[in-house]
């Protein structure tokens, strides 16, 4: 019976071409779309030539920051694109994302909106400057005439040594990481979308929702056999979909995911599992109707993705600050974290932890679902 139902579930899902088509199309189309729109940005050589930055200065500052900034914003391959503004203008520009950050020259302070590779370069410039502030002031203070070009260059090379480390690291890793985050988000969402296929399978198991469910209920078989075989069957299919998506992104689009492919594949497997388990539990809720269940699933998917920063940045960080436990159980956050940690750290601790959490969550959800629909009798059919 187990294999009979397993095979049938697979056959039915494959023959209902529409659903498998959409689950496969979603990650591939979205990845292609993102690839095309990021295409030129991801071409990372050009990326850091110009960081737009607003400088607010009274013109009377006593430090040498302006000298450094000027030096960084000259020449063909200048790092900064400086716009001097009033404080109000600068804040507006930052808000409108016209500049990456604002440097307040008077008190050597930096203001950025969000963490990005460019923002961290600005941070490194400022901190390098602060570290070398005394040396710079010293030179400038001792000079009777205009500062000697050579002296400035000496200090500058010091500052630049730090920043170039950042720019290089950013262009190769962080920047790649930042755009990869979007592709991780695609995987997370398409894993959550697996819920749509399992919710249908569970509806087809309940006598009050479908005639097929009635036939299964009157047959001499336990519901757990149906649930588990349907689940595993869909898991195989959905896992294949994710694998195809991964293959497409890494070979056709040429996205660099690093070299930890086995671990990434495991993430996709466990991610599909948790997505399907969410569909199973929603499918098991009685008295909701198929439409209602799809609605709830959509809501759950959007909320979980939203909380994992899949739409706008910053939500996840806010959650991390206030209710960190949510990030530890939200499957969307766990999936993206798995990828991120694989690509960022050599250490597997976070990865293993996240995988374990998702596996446990899946099992718990399925057990609860079974308890909910095991009681075969319905009040109304």
């Amino acid at each position: 019976m187990f294999w009979h139902n397993f095979k049938n579930c697979m056959k039915v899902t494959l023959k209902a071409k529409v659903s498998i088509f959409w689950t496969l199309l979603f990650p591939i189309a979205l990845a292609t779309f993102m690839y095309v729109s990021f295409g030129n940005i991801m071409d990372n050589e050009e990326m850091f030539k110009n960081i737009d930055v607003a400088v607010v200065s009274s013109g009377e500052e006593e430090n040498g920051l302006m000298v450094v900034i000027d030096a960084l914003s000259e020449g063909d391959d200048k790092l900064l694109n400086v716009k001097e503004m009033s404080e109000a203008e600068a804040k507006q520009a930052l808000k409108d994302e016209k500049v990456t950050g604002i440097i307040f020259a008077d008190d050597v302070r930096l203001m950025v909106n969000e963490s990005s590779a460019n923002a961290s370069i600005l941070e490194s410039i400022l901190s390098s400057y602060k570290q070398n502030e005394y040396a710079i002031k010293d030179i400038m203070g001792n000079l009777e005439t205009a500062p000697n070009e050579a002296d400035i260059m000496a200090i500058m090379s010091d500052v630049m040594a730090d920043t170039s480390y950042y720019t290089e690291k950013s262009t190769s890793d962080s920047n790649q990481n930042m755009y990869n985050n979007y592709f991780y988000a695609i995987f997370a969402m398409s894993c959550l979308f697996a819920a749509y296929s399992s919710v249908g399978a569970i509806s087809n198991l309940q006598a009050n929702e479908s005639g097929k469910g009635m036939r299964k209920c009157i047959s001499p078989n336990s519901k757990i056999v149906f649930i588990v075989s349907d689940f595993l069957s869909l898991l195989v299919l959905h896992f294949l979909v994710e694998l195809i998506a991964l293959l497409y992104m890494s070979t056709v689009l040429g996205i660099e995911f690093g070299d930890k492919y086995p671990a990434m594949i495991l993430t996709l497997f466990v991610g599909s599992m948790i997505g399907l388990a969410i569909g199973v539990i929603v499918g098991a809720i009685a008295k909701l109707g198929f439409g209602g269940k799809i609605g709830i699933l959509t809501a759950i998917g959007l909320v979980l993705s939203g909380m994992a920063d899949l739409f706008v940045n910053g939500v996840k960080r806010a959650i991390e600050l206030h209710v960190p436990i949510i990030n530890k159980i939200n499957p969307a956050a766990l999936i993206t974290d798995c990828f991120y940690s694989l690509n960022t750290y050599d250490d597997y601790t976070i990865f293993i932890q996240n995988i374990m959490i998702m596996a446990v969550e899946s099992v718990v959800l399925i057990v609860i679902a079974f308890m909910m629909i095991r009681r075969n009798k319905y009040a109304s059919i």
Binding site: H4, M214, R215, C217, I218, S219, P220
Partner: protein, 312 residues
């Protein structure tokens, strides 16, 4: 032979609506038991309760002498159900559908293949094995629905209005098939609101209305329960009141009606009633058209007990 199904004092409420009101029945093994009642009388509800699909408020249900529970797999394996609504996979062909549902009961591949072929033969769908359900006509679809319910050769089969929307020819095939299943040893529970089918098929009939049993017996027993034994209908134009009175006063006539040129005379007992009617027409020089004499039907039984027609 033992008892196949026994239901005692079953009460099922849907909120305020009492769908089954202290309903009882007892079906012996080997019979074709008819459950006859108008729409909404509680036939499907009864079957769903027996199958442990529906919870009920009161009562007791036994199948093959054992209390029926959702986990009574040893009982369930011998039951087949042809549901009122067609329930098949749209994605699977005729053959695959029957094979899947049969496979919920029969593990062994060879046996299953044989059973599926036999079921296809039984409902005469051999030419449509590879068809998807949406390519089948309504009647063929119902035949597929039947095959899915009976392929595993159950000992007790419920047919819930299997002939709705089926043309007369297919309907007769289905009824013949059910008789064959019964002859092969299956106990049949057949629900319908078509009295002709039930009369033609069933060894015993339970008539129900509003969740209650109103009569039970063989078709002859049921007909004997009522006053009417014969209805004579005559096509006649311009019948006067005096003539109508004469006809009404014929022996054994207990009621008469004249409407739209059709005369109906209702008899209770008596022989040669038709001849007496004809003689009366001759004596009074009344010209007439078509004449029929009908024995009572289950509809008459239903009409007399409930005061309303079986069919809406």
């Amino acid at each position: 032979m033992g008892t196949a199904v026994e239901v005692n004092n079953l009460v099922k409420r849907y909120k305020d609506l009492v769908a089954l009101d202290h309903f009882s029945l007892k079906i012996e093994e080997g019979e074709i038991f008819g459950l006859l009642g108008p729409n909404g009388s509680g036939k499907t509800t009864t079957i769903n309760c027996i199958l442990s699909l529906l919870s009920f408020d009161k009562g007791d249900i036994q199948v093959f002498g054992k209390k029926m529970k959702p986990t009574s797999y040893d009982i369930k394996k011998d039951i087949g159900v042809v549901m009122q609504n067609v329930a098949v996979f749209d994605e699977l062909t005729v053959y695959e559908n029957i094979d899947y549902f049969c496979g919920l009961y029969i593990k062994e591949k060879e046996t299953r293949r044989k059973y599926v072929e036999e079921a296809i033969e039984f409902v005469d769908l051999a030419d449509y094995k590879k068809f998807l359900p949406k390519k089948l006509s309504g009647g063929l679809l119902r035949r597929l629905n039947i095959a899915c319910g009976i392929a595993h050769k159950p000992k007790l089969i419920f047919f819930d209005e299997p002939t709705v929307a089926v043309d007369p020819q297919s309907r007769n095939k289905i009824l013949e098939g059910i008789k064959m299943l019964n002859e092969a040893g299956a106990t049949i529970v057949y629900t319908s609101h078509y009295m002709e089918e039930v009369e033609q098929l069933c060894s015993r009939i339970l008539i129900m209305d509003k969740g209650k049993q109103i009569a039970l017996g063989t078709k002859d027993e049921l007909k004997r329960m009522i006053k009417n034994t014969e209805t004579v209908s005559v096509e006649v134009l311009g019948l006067g009141d005096a003539e109508l009175d004469k006809l009404k006063s014929l022996p054994h006539v207990y009621d008469a009606g004249y409407e739209d040129g059709m005369l109906h005379l209702y008899f209770s007992g008596g022989k040669h009633n038709l001849i007496r009617v004809m003689e009366c027409f001759k004596e009074n020089n009344i010209s007439f058209g078509r004449v029929t004499s009908e024995l009572p039907t289950l509809n008459d039984v239903f009409l007399e007990i409930t005061g309303k027609e079986l069919r809406d």
